[in-house]
Each structure stands twice: as structure tokens, then as C-alpha cells.
Symmetry: C2
Subunit: 237 residues, 2 copies
């Protein structure tokens, strides 16, 4: 299996992702949040690039809910922010939710020429592993933070590679090898490494401590969000 | 001290380097080679972007020597390739040498608006540490390989940060933290990690095994190449 790891959303280009199986990671918090919303029964998640686009969706479809953030904060008129803990079953069940975030949904929207888009987070590592383990090539996209590599996403990529290597001969580029090595050497205390990263501190400063604890737990959800026809649906594993 | 690590030459932009103290790393092999040539007595090293530019320099200055590579290989009409082992004292002493390489001199040439350009490799880690340890901000540029992050450069950045942190309060972004963590966890057997990286294998395949061994030794040279007025000269430490 050939595994390519792209360090940040700005590094996505057509030649790397067209017709490929693409996994997008934004641990803090978009891909953790979308997986949680779907696990709690949301029918569809529509990822969009801009706040205005989300608002326009709701104008055309008043029964849709809209969620997401800018600078980590829920936007005026939105039903949700970007905390996975807001997307509770009693609120999201059978709902269609439009989501826009600074890094995660931007990365997703740059991948539309891929053959398949799958969302990865620590929450659904094993489930994603089961779905992709027989693929010949996968491209893992770390959404990053404001165009820069983000350790939380990189270590999550490393965690998937670590698991895939148990049953596959994985060919890695240097970024993949770096992420794998980071995970291998810190997996007994991942929270310690990730708590030093920029985006972790930003979220801690705006009071998202519970989100941080939630998003760094491995394998709490048995689902994989897969993109089709403009939205993510749940694939139970 | 604020330390910014830029993962590959393509990520250099004016806003990140203008008037900054910039350290360029291309462990395999440009920054190792230039340091070696200066240590062996070369008077000046002029880094240029293109093969033709190097050839033109020699036409205008027949007493100059020219060196470098494309695809790892010495170019027709050149006096040297890019192996540090070619730049022996008896050949380079008091010579002015024009060098062009695929990644290293390209990274250097993208940094011309910096306040200072310093070349770092494993060979001169301690010497560079001594020169930069009292700076407020440094920018470390991993030249990378063909626009991608290269582990050898990243781990060398991590090695410098590891040493700087002994006497400084270093503020790191995520890329710097990743490089530091890679070095901290693999420094007892660096060769093992670096031997898995793409560029190492390319050089191994074209018969550069002795270069690889040479370039991965720490602190064999007590000099720092510093750029001024279009060329590098030796600063003995």
C-alpha cells in the first residue's frame, strides 16, 4: 500500500488527490465533530467553505441546521459551534447539518476530485483502518491550522499508519515516516505531546478543555463518515 | 527565543524570512558539502540557482571552480559533484567555488532578503548553536527534497533545537515541536531513522554510501558558513 501524507490543507493539489482514496484529518475539531454528529444520528452533513454559504443554505432550506466556527467560535445565527459535545443525539437525530470550519471543511472542499473522501480522527481510527486496509493507495490529508502543519493531525495520521502496517506492506514518504515515528514514540502519552501544540493551546484558552479530552480518545466511535453527492453520511463498521 | 521551522524550500516566503536570522539545512548534501569545502580552505562559495548560471560564472572567471548536481549526479563541465568527500584541501584551498544543487542552493537563493543566512548540517551543529544562541528569533529552513519535507533535514533542525533548549526558553511552532520530538526519540540511533528516508535511498542507489556516513556525523567541523555579498565564507568557532 502506498501512503502519501500531505502536511496541511494548502499543500493539496489536484495531481495528488484526483481519483484517489483521500482521508481528511482535523482532530481539533472538524472531523471529530462530523463523526460524532453522524454517530448521534444526523442524516447528512454538508461541508461548505464559507459562513455565508452556510447561512444561504439555511435560507433555502429552513429545516436544515447550521454549525461551525471562525477563530474557534460559533457564528451568529448558527445552531451549533464546532464542539463535538454540542451535537447530541436529541438535537441532531435525522437532521441535515451544514458545517463550515476554518481548516477542516476547507481541506474537505479542496478534495472534491478525489475518488472517495473519508474522515479520520482518533475517535474512529479502527473503523477507518477496516475500510481502507485493502486499498492500493491512500492519501492522508492533515488539515493543519492556518496553512501550517498541526501535530494533532500528524500524530493521528501516524496512528492510522501504525495500525495499517500490522497487516500491510506500507510504502511511506518522509512525511508519513515522520508521523509514524512521532506516534510510535509518544503513543503511551499522546495527550502530553499534543497539549504542547499551537491549536490545542488556542482551544484551551477559549474554554474547550472538554472537547480536547473528548477528541484525543482513540476508538470511541464505530463509524466512518464518507462523502457522496455533496454530503457525508455514516457508514457503520 | 522564537524558532520557526519551515518544512521545505517551497514554503519559504518573503514575510517569513525578510530581515530574519535564517538557517538553511540540506543535510544530504549541500550544506554538509559547503561547510566541508570551507573547512578545507575554500575562500568563497557562491551558491547559484541553475547549472547554466554556474557555467556562465566560469566563462567570466576561468579561475573559479564549479560544483554541484542534478539528480544527484555531477554535471558535464563541472569540477566537482555534490559529494563533500570531493572537496579535499589540496583541491579547494584558496579557491572560489560556484555551487548549484537541486534543493540546497535553491533554498539558499530564496532567502536573499534575510538579515543573515547561516548553513547548518549535522557536521557543524555545535558551532551554529554557539553563533545563534543569543538571538531573539531564528527561522530554520529545511531544504527538503523536490518540494517535500525530508526527514534528514527535519531531524537536524530538531537536533539544533534540542541543544538550544539547554540554555534558552525556546518558543516552537508545531513543525519545530515535531522535529524536536523526532530527534529526542531517535537520537541514539539517528542513522536507522534517516536510512529509511527517500533521499537517503536515492543517494544509496547511486553509490553515495560514504557521503551518507560522513554527513550524519555530529560536530566534526568547527565552522559556520555565513552568507555575505553573494557568497559564503568560513566563520571559525
Amino acid at each position: 500500500m502506498n501512503i502519501t501524507v500531505i502536511p496541511a490543507a494548502k499543500d493539496i493539489n489536484e495531481s495528488k488527490i484526483k481519483d484517489k482514496i483521500v482521508l481528511v484529518i482535523d482532530v481539533l475539531r472538524a472531523t471529530s465533530t462530523i463523526a460524532t454528529a453522524l454517530d448521534n444520528g444526523a442524516k447528512k452533513i454538508i461541508p461548505v467553505l464559507n459562513v455565508q454559504e452556510a447561512i444561504d443554505y439555511k435560507k433555502s432550506n429552513p429545516n436544515y441546521k447550521i454549525g461551525g466556527e471562525r477563530n474557534g467560535i460559533k457564528q451568529p445565527g448558527f445552531d451549533f459551534g464546532n464542539s463535538p459535545l454540542e451535537y447530541k443525539e436529541k438535537i441532531v437525530k435525522n437532521e441535515t447539518i451544514v458545517i463550515t470550519t476554518t481548516n477542516g471543511t476547507r481541506a474537505i472542499n479542496h478534495c472534491k476530485s478525489a475518488k472517495k473522501i473519508i474522515l479520520l480522527s482518533f475517535l474512529n481510527l479502527n473503523s477507518v483502518n477496516k475500510i481502507v486496509q485493502f486499498e492500493e493507495d491512500i492519501v492522508i490529508i492533515c488539515a493543519g491550522t492556518n496553512d501550517l502543519f498541526s501535530i494533532d493531525d500528524g500524530v493521528c495520521a501516524g496512528a492510522l499508519i501504525y495500525n495499517l502496517r500490522k497487516n500491510n506492506n506500507c510504502k511511506l514518504g518522509d512525511m508519513g515516516l515522520a508521523c509514524l515515528t512521532l506516534y510510535e514514540n509518544t503513543r503511551d502519552n499522546l495527550h502530553n505531546l499534543i497539549s504542547k501544540c499551537h491549536h490545542y493551546k488556542v482551544l484551551e484558552n477559549i474554554g474547550c478543555q472538554f472537547d480536547l479530552e473528548y477528541c484525543l480518545k482513540e476508538n470511541t466511535l464505530n463509524i466512518v463518515p464518507i462523502y457522496k453527492d455533496g454530503y457525508f453520511i455514516k457508514n457503520e463498521i
